[in-house]
């Protein structure tokens, strides 16, 4: 077990051992969620700022509840209700928050690298809650936790990520985590959304959906990121659904023990059919529950980490 980082900025810079440390720590925090009193004093007296410059519901709620269960004090800050609307820069906003003696800043931002920037200019611990199309490290960690819990391990598993890869920060973080932990990753989707350049990350790229899911142990579905697509990347949602959506017919051609994951929010009838989303092989709600445990573990670990400042050279 090892963790000496002050920030969680991305999965790319983590070692397999560090990832496993988070997952092991999260097991202990998952047990807290099953108690009558779901709260521990680990971050008592600490202040967390949730700086959500890009809209988010489930990640923000998950972080908030995780922080409350660790007994931290919380300030929520959203773009709509902030001085960013009045022309303040991110740096000034963050420094003002730090002047309030915030210990942790959880940031969601539409610009890739925003958390890395904050980590360089602030003394607080910075946790990336999603930066543009770059990374979403806590989502990848909760995905790894869920897979490990269901399958007993990650090494050697065949994992297929299906959908909009190029605009997805979840895909990038998942690919980093899965390959570091020894899984075989296959990417599939429309060729405009799954460029071959991802082969450089150690993945297999295919455009044949039936072949991509036939041998998979885990099928991770991703939502079409309309908000990030600058031009039309495929003809229509109906066509996407018929060519790439996971429906009952396609599910029947997978291994009987293949499990379905999705980071949410799901678009029923587009990337996933209702009956697939609600079937017993779907882990979608397990992922939400595990997200709390993993985020508690991350906050707990970075609280103990004192550096070396991994962003110093960035």
């Amino acid at each position: 077990m090892s963790w000496n980082r002050k920030h969680l900025l991305d999965i790319e810079s983590l070692t397999a051992e560090e990832i496993l440390t988070v997952l092991e720590t999260a097991r202990a925090f998952k047990a807290v969620g099953a108690r009558a009193i779901k709260k521990v004093p680990a971050l008592r007296g600490k202040t967390v700022v949730n700086l959500f410059i890009e809209p988010s519901t489930r990640t923000r709620i998950s972080f908030e509840l995780s922080e409350q269960r660790l007994s931290a004090d919380i300030i929520n800050f959203t773009a709509e209700a902030s001085s960013l609307k009045k022309g303040e820069t991110l740096k000034d906003t963050a420094r003002n928050l730090e002047a309030l003696n915030a210990d942790f800043i959880v940031i969601r931002h539409s610009a890739s690298g925003a958390p890395h920037f904050l980590a360089r200019v602030l003394n607080a611990s910075v946790i990336n809650a999603g930066d543009g199309a770059h990374e979403h490290p806590t989502q990848a960690l909760l995905d790894m936790f869920t897979i490990r819990e269901e399958k007993g391990g990650i090494e050697g598993l065949k994992v297929t990520i299906l959908g909009d890869i190029v605009y997805s920060r979840v895909a990038r973080s998942d690919i980093w985590a899965l390959t570091k932990l020894g899984a075989h990753v296959t990417l599939c989707g429309p060729s405009t959304l799954v460029p071959r350049v991802f082969e450089q990350m150690g993945c297999r790229v295919t455009y044949d959906v039936d072949e991509a899911i036939r041998e998979a142990d885990i099928i991770n579905l991703l939502r079409i990121q309309h908000e990030r697509q600058r031009k039309t990347m495929f003809p229509s949602l109906g066509e996407y659904s018929s060519l790439f959506g996971l429906n009952r017919a396609r599910l029947a051609r997978t291994r009987p023990d293949a499990l379905i994951m999705h980071p949410g929010p799901i678009n029923r009838g587009v990337e996933i059919d209702s009956e697939v989303a609600d079937c017993s092989r779907s882990l979608i709600l397990e992922q939400v529950t595990n997200g709390l445990a993993v985020r508690m573990a991350v906050l707990f670990l970075v609280n103990g980490g004192k550096g070396p400042q991994e962003v110093a050279q960035a």
């Binding site: 097991r27 202990a28 047990a31 807290v32 108690r35 521990v40 680990a42 670990l301 103990g304 004192k306």
Partner: protein, 176 residues
């Protein structure tokens, strides 16, 4: 690093047997006693004591395991500790909870354990059983049942090795 053996496997077994008899003597109504081992070393010791007590009372004694990592008072001053899930599969309210740990030192772990236990209910009473008491208390905490008192210097460390954690049973004193 020089090592001195304090207890071998047989002596450890005798110490635990004696602790079990003392627990049985102090708590005659055996059905109200539960054991809670403090991770990591205390949890396997609690399982062994539970077996011994079952032999004495003729009925099973429930066991739980408690990790105090989330309740420590020094989280700011150290790296985050390794943690195991806390599992208390019974209601502690009204029970006599015997906390079990391998080494009693500053007493801070026990304080954290009593805090953590409060989140699970209100025990009738809490007692403390430790295999080794090495002194140097920093809090007003005292064990009810002690396997062996070992005078130590603060520069020394006490290692309890257990078969359940991968090495033959023994307790050694390490001088740095």
């Amino acid at each position: 690093m020089a090592e001195t053996q304090i207890l071998n496997g047989a002596a450890m077994q005798r110490a635990l047997t004696r602790i079990a008899h003392e627990i049985a003597e102090r708590n005659e109504a055996g059905n109200e006693v539960v054991l809670v081992g403090i991770e990591r070393g205390g949890a396997p010791l609690a399982r062994r004591l539970s077996e011994l007590l079952r032999g004495i009372w003729g009925q099973p004694v429930p066991i739980g395991q408690l990790d105090v990592g989330m309740h420590r008072d020094d989280l700011d001053q150290r790296l985050a500790p390794d943690m195991q899930p806390t599992v208390i599969p019974f209601d502690v309210s009204g029970k006599t909870v015997v906390l079990v740990d391998d080494v009693l030192y500053s007493g801070r772990t026990i304080r954290a354990a009593m805090d953590a236990l409060n989140d699970f209910g209100r025990p009738r009473r809490i007692q403390l059983a430790v295999l080794i008491d090495r002194g140097h208390r920093e809090l007003p905490i005292k064990a009810d049942f002690v396997g062996k008192n070992v005078p130590t210097a603060q520069s020394e460390s006490v290692q309890v090795r257990l078969a359940e954690l991968g090495s033959p049973d023994e307790v050694v004193l390490e001088k740095r």
